[in-house]
């Protein structure tokens, strides 16, 4: 059982690694951005665990990262392979993204205290 799952995991890994470079470049940039913001969020969690200080600042920090990561929903809307979004203009998706980011950061600024 363990060996077969181990083999499966290897095969999985290889399949993923081979399939990923097939995605277009602009989507890969968005993925990089998402990865970066998740990394920042984890760093903040670690910092909070060490220092442990104002909760609202911590929350706003973490949620800003999560928020920007989630807002890579842009990625979904821009990805041409998604059938449901093919009639959504890329400019409209970007404007939505900017608007949401604006609101998100305004709220976080208010919350940082």
């Amino acid at each position: 059982m363990a060996r077969s799952t181990g083999k499966d995991a290897h095969a999985l890994f290889h399949a993923l690694r081979s399939a990923y470079p097939a995605t277009p470049t602009n989507l890969k940039i968005i993925d990089l951005y998402v990865g970066f913001s998740v990394f920042t969020a984890l760093t903040q969690v670690a910092y909070m665990a060490i220092v442990g200080f104002p909760f609202n600042s911590f929350l706003s920090g973490v949620l800003s990262c999560i928020g920007t990561a989630i807002l890579a929903l842009l990625r979904i809307q821009v990805n041409k392979e998604n059938k449901e979004f093919k009639d959504l203009a890329a400019e409209r998706a970007f404007v939505d993204f900017v608007l949401c980011n604006l609101v998100l950061h305004l709220v976080i600024m208010n919350f940082l205290g």
Partner: protein, 727 residues
């Protein structure tokens, strides 16, 4: 289909009636009809709530709205910064209350904004007028939102019917008449708006709509504590969609952005604070959030991989990991106390017997009792049986939107059954679902009628294909019966709806338009007698007591005393401190000397009691007395409820227990009452509210003296005497 029928109708109209000026195109006619219906419904919703303003005067009703009015007054006079940081020392003496941090500011800010914008337009209105009319204004806005919501779920016909139904539905009117300046008036608008925007976001998958729904949620959180319903219903809805295999990118976009933005916005309200990440009531939303990420990951991996067997393995691993992590996190959080458990107010919704045993204050509020069938019929009328019919139609045409409205309807009906007050939350759902039933039925019936007419005029029909021909043949055969039955059914539907309108109007006029602070009754000759005792007493307090006088009364009247009497109170309707209320309850139920000790320790100058023995008013303090005993006894075991009962029975006549006949509440209510003739043919001291002659007619007060009794003896105020001079 509809356009074709309308075209033929239009040519009929033009040819038969030859009214030249209806030369509009069909689309414009339809728009004109819709807009005019919506305008009429808007106006109707507003004016049907104005009964009490016409009958009495433009004043604030009940108890809670007085607090809202006082805070709005403060906001308009002092500005937003002062309001947000307000510490009120005039209530809950000597503790005070942090008002800025313990209220939901949405209602006050809305009224203040309306007031400032009207002032800007140079309308010199008083803030009280704005407050009184805020609720009807927002009820009208709710009808508009109901129209758009109905259009989103079903079609514009259903939207129009929904708007019309919700404009006059008594379940909603009960909390949004003119003068009922309470959170629910604005909150139902915010609730329906949030739900509409969210369903629209799920349908279109656009970030803009999800952002709008996050703002709607923010408005709801700022307006009412019932926002917990939204933050639990929407994750439940998403979960149901996931389980029924309706996961889609649109759902992912809509829920994620709404959750993150909504949560952040909601945490800006100080009263809510960090509850979204710390309280057990909000954990469902977070759990579903993580579940969505797992779904997205699985979807993405499936898309990348071309090998299904590999994917199955991955699926197994991921699902077990995710579930395991989730359960462990939840367990750790709950066990360590980091995630606080469900608070009493909401826990008693899941377990209705909880409040009676553990939290008497919640159990004592009359609005928190379970709902009787008569209340359902009273508040919903025909909607009650149109609701299952609408459910049937929703199930026939399942889509993301109809699943939502079905879930909203079912969950809100369950909660409406648990607590009377929550009929209000169920009303929009019931109206929408019933509107679907009405609209679909009437559409089918008129289609039958129209097809008849179309068949009979062979000259003006167009586009009859094979299917139509066969159906035409069928219709020809049963022609006379179907047409007649369709007409009969349409008349029946019209009759039902008109009966609904009559009932709603009657209910609004009779039951829900009383201001509670002014009582009315019919005199002996049928003329109307008004009892304005409450306001008489509060203004007496305002004009005849020193500025820093402290008034002790039961918590029901606290808000009114601070708002109208402008004096400091000991406890008020906020009921945030149970021990303080229990202290007052203990004082009211003790003998006079013990009560005097307690009153001296609280610096009480005046005591206010409400007494209905002369007028037969049954919501007075003697009828509420057992709750005072229970709440007091919950904290101070020296107060025992059986001491006040005789064989388990609550009596005030000669057979009452001695403790009852000598406690402070009894003495204050019945002081000098023994000499009063209240009813012809009955002995003096006959209590008309209880229907008995009181037991202890000779009441002597040692530490208090009577300061004021209103003209109908409803409110009685006593002054606490300072201690005797010592030698």
């Amino acid at each position: 289909m509809v356009v074709g029928n309308a075209e033929s109708m239009k040519s009929d109209l033009l040819s038969s009636l030859s009214i030249r000026w209806i030369k509009l195109k069909t689309k414009q006619q339809e728009v004109l009809i819709r807009v005019s219906i919506l305008c009429l419904v808007y106006i109707l919703a507003f004016i049907s709530r104005l009964f009490s303003v016409l009958r009495y005067e433009s004043m604030i009703h009940e108890f809670d709205p007085y607090f809202n009015y006082r805070t709005t007054l403060f906001l308009t006079q002092k500005g937003f910064y002062e309001f947000w940081n307000w510490f009120d020392s005039e209530s809950w003496y000597p503790l005070g209350r942090i008002i800025g941090g313990t209220l939901y500011p949405g209602l006050m800010v809305t009224a203040a904004l309306l007031y400032w914008s009207l002032r800007f337009l140079r309308f010199a209105v008083h803030i009280r007028e704005v407050c009184v009319l805020t609720a009807p204004f927002f009820a009208s806005n709710t009808t508009l939102v109901a129209y758009f919501f109905g259009k989103e779920i079903w079609d514009s016909g259903a939207g129009l019917v929904a708007a019309a139904l919700i404009a006059i539905c008594p379940g909603y009117i009960s909390r949004s008449v003119a003068g009922s300046y309470d959170n629910e008036g604005v909150a139902i608008f915010a609730l329906l708006l949030t739900f509409y925007l969210f369903v629209r976001a799920v349908n279109t998958g656009s970030l803009a709509w999800a952002l709008a729904s996050a703002f709607g949620y923010f408005y709801m959180v700022s307006a009412w504590g019932g926002y917990v319903f939204i933050i639990n219903l929407i994750p439940l809805y998403v979960l149901v969609l996931l389980l029924t295999g309706r996961y889609s990118m649109r759902l992912y976009v809509a829920y994620n952005s709404m959750y993150v933005l909504g949560m952040l916005l909601a945490m800006q309200i100080r009263f809510v604070g960090f509850q979204h990440v710390q309280s057990g009531e909000h954990m469902a939303a977070m759990g579903v959030f993580f579940l969505m990420q797992v779904f997205y990951l699985l979807d993405w991996v499936k898309h990348l991989l071309s090998d299904t067997k590999l994917f199955q393995a991955f699926l197994r691993v991921t699902v077990t990991c995710a579930v395991g992590v989730g359960v462990i996190a939840l367990g750790v959080g709950t066990a360590s106390g980091y995630i606080s458990p469900w608070t009493g107010r909401f826990y008693s919704l899941l377990d209705p017997t909880y409040a009676k045993d553990h939290i008497p204050i919640i159990a004592s509020v009359s609005e928190h009792q379970p709902t009787a069938w008569s209340s359902f019929m009273f508040d919903f009328h025909i909607l009650l049986f149109l609701f299952p019919a609408g459910l049937y139609f929703c199930f026939k045409r399942l889509s993301d939107a109809t699943i939502f409205i079905v879930m909203y309807g079912l969950t809100s009906m369950y909660f409406a059954g648990v607590m009377v007050r929550l009929i209000l939350v169920a009303t929009p759902a019931v109206c929408l679902i019933s509107a679907i039933a009405v609209s679909a039925t009437i559409k089918n019936l008129t289609y039958l009628l129209r097809t008849k007419r179309k068949v009979s005029q062979t000259g003006s029909t167009e586009g009859i294909n094979g299917a139509k021909a066969s159906s035409k043949a069928l219709l020809d055969r049963s022609q006379p019966f179907q047409k007649n039955s369709a007409i009969a059914l349409l008349f029946g539907a019209f009759y039902l709806l008109s009966k609904y309108a009559t009932h709603c109007n009657w209910v609004t006029s009779e039951a829900y338009s009383s201001p509670s602070i002014v009582l009315a009754a019919r005199g002996a000759h049928g003329d109307r007698v008004i009892f304005d005792d409450y306001r008489e007493a509060y203004f007496w307090l305002r004009q005849n007591t020193p500025q820093d006088a402290k008034v002790m009364s039961w918590w029901d009247y606290g808000y009114q005393i601070t708002a109208m009497g402008n004096r400091t109170v000991i406890v008020d309707n906020n009921t945030w401190n149970n021990t303080h209320i229990a202290t007052v309850g203990r004082a009211m139920s003790s003998y006079e000397d013990e009560a005097y000790e307690i009153m001296r320790s609280l610096d009480v100058d005046y005591v206010l009691v409400v007494f209905g023995g002369v007028t037969g008013y049954s919501s007075d303090d003697i009828n509420k007395f057992l709750w005072m005993v229970r709440i007091g006894g919950g904290v101070f075991p020296v107060i025992k409820e059986p001491h006040y009962l005789v064989n388990g029975e609550y009596r005030v006549d000669k057979g009452a227990s001695p403790k009852m006949l000598n406690c402070l509440m009894y003495k204050l209510s019945y002081y000098r009452f023994g000499e009063l003739m209240t009813e012809y043919g009955k002995p003096p001291g006959y209590d008309r509210a209880r229907g008995v002659e009181i037991g202890n007619k000779d009441v002597k007060l040692e530490y208090l003296e009577e300061a004021f009794t209103t003209s109908n003896w409803i409110v009685r105020i006593y002054k606490v005497k300072p201690p005797n001079n010592r030698w």
